[in-house]
Amino acid sequence: MPLRLLKYALSKNHPAPRFFKEHLVPKKSYDVVIIGGGGHGLAAAYYLAKDHGITNVAVLEKGYIGGGNTGRNTTIVRSNYLTPEGVNFYDASVKIYEGLSEELDLNLFYSTRGHFTLAHTESAMRTMRWRAEVNKHVGVESRVVGPDEIAKACPQLDLSCSGHAPILGALYHAPGSVARHDGVAWGYARGADGYGAEIFQSTEVLGIDVKNGKVCGVRTNKGYIETKQVLSAVAGFTPRITEMVELDTPIVIHPLQACVTEPMKPWLDTILVSGSLHVYVSQSSRGELVMGSSLDPYEVHSTRSTLDFVEGLTSHMLDMFPFLSNVKVVRQWAGMADMTPDFAPIMGKTPIEGFYLDAGWGTWGFKATPISGKTMAYTIANDRAPDLIHSFRLSRFDEYELTGEKGAASVGH
């Protein structure tokens, strides 16, 4: 038992202070206003202070911190992407994640479990090789493995998928991890707060004032804030914010759903993903199976659940694990995914001076939390995006320079 827990046992009063101070009314002005108190916004606030010494920062959250997609995803962290720019970016995120519990002094349960992307068809195998080759090339540990190695890591898996979709192999990505998603938001909140950033919950942005192409202020339900720099880090709410500054983007909102089972003793040690069966699953440290599937097929700005989703997902789960018939699903939920046409984020500067975008996170936002915070902080501090996110600039769509991340998803027969 670690000694630090004794501290709690021996003290009469609960010794832990607030994670972050409660601010009710914003000041008249801030150097930077961050819209969105999720992992990304809070990480940006943290790195603005830590890396760039910018602490006169307000983080505005319309609900509670970490209550959006930060708290709704299935917590998978990985960097086995297809394009070198994608792999490099997410690898940088993984590297920060690996030391983040220590850095934030909060146990994020960052748990490296290994990640298998199962291939059920020859064409999927081709894509796995493509990703593996690109990953290897930039120094990320991914390789194509055969059914034997999958069976060794997960002996419970029915490799024939009940005869419907035999598994031919997989992309194995050793650094694949899961983490406590809420903790990431809380840790960054505490860190940012410690440096002096002010976090406002229940604070909704009603408008953003732009004069002569420059940001000059933010209207909120708690009053007006003068500022020259605004970061929008609001994932599923991005179109509502960009509409305020009349900025067109390709982002379309689709719900992404997930569900959990009741807890059981750990048996699934790895993270499994099957593109063909539209399943991803891991077992949490509480013992629940955390499961997700593909995006809902049409645009809705809502976190409602559907029966179709859970029926389809469980059907495929049973193909993979027939013995789960009587294991029960406890809860399903949804987040709003801000999808882009090329399955890559939109980050950096915009045509409006002082308005920065951290968006287009679709289904891959959680894993990018640390690096997006860091790179967006750099962008704001220098009014220039670092090379690492150059490929993700908004102007790529005007320039027909879409990232290749969509390539993998579209390769079929």
């Binding site: 179109p239 960009t242 983007t249 390709p250 982002i251 379309v252 645009e299 809705v300 809502s302 005007d398």
Partner: protein, 97 residues
């Protein structure tokens, strides 16, 4: 599962339909600038609200227009693109919130 009304077949479960994206008028390709065209191709009006959308009823092969609120997911009316009368008529029911 939600229900959707196909103008040709009536109220059917959503699983019979394919979402075809927002209905958008393209700029004139002969006169617009490259930037305008790129914006048309890539950008979407992503903010929630009342949208005209393409939907396809797969069993009958019917494309039609649905006027839907993307926040409430309520459909005000559906009609064939060629039904000019329907387009000009007032919505039969208001969008819910």
């Amino acid at each position: 599962m939600k229900l959707l009304t196909c103008p040709m077949n009536g109220s059917r479960p959503l699983s019979e339909f394919v979402f075809g994206g927002e209905y958008r008028e393209s700029p004139n390709p002969d006169t617009c600038t490259d930037k305008e065209w790129a914006a048309y191709v890539h950008n979407r009006s992503g903010a929630p609200g009342n949208k005209k959308e393409w939907w396809y009823h797969a069993p009958s092969g019917t494309w039609f227009i649905a006027e839907r609120n993307t926040l409430s997911d309520k459909v005000a009316r559906t009609y064939l693109l060629t039904d000019a009368n329907a387009q000009q008529a007032k919505p039969a029911q208001e969008y819910g919130q």
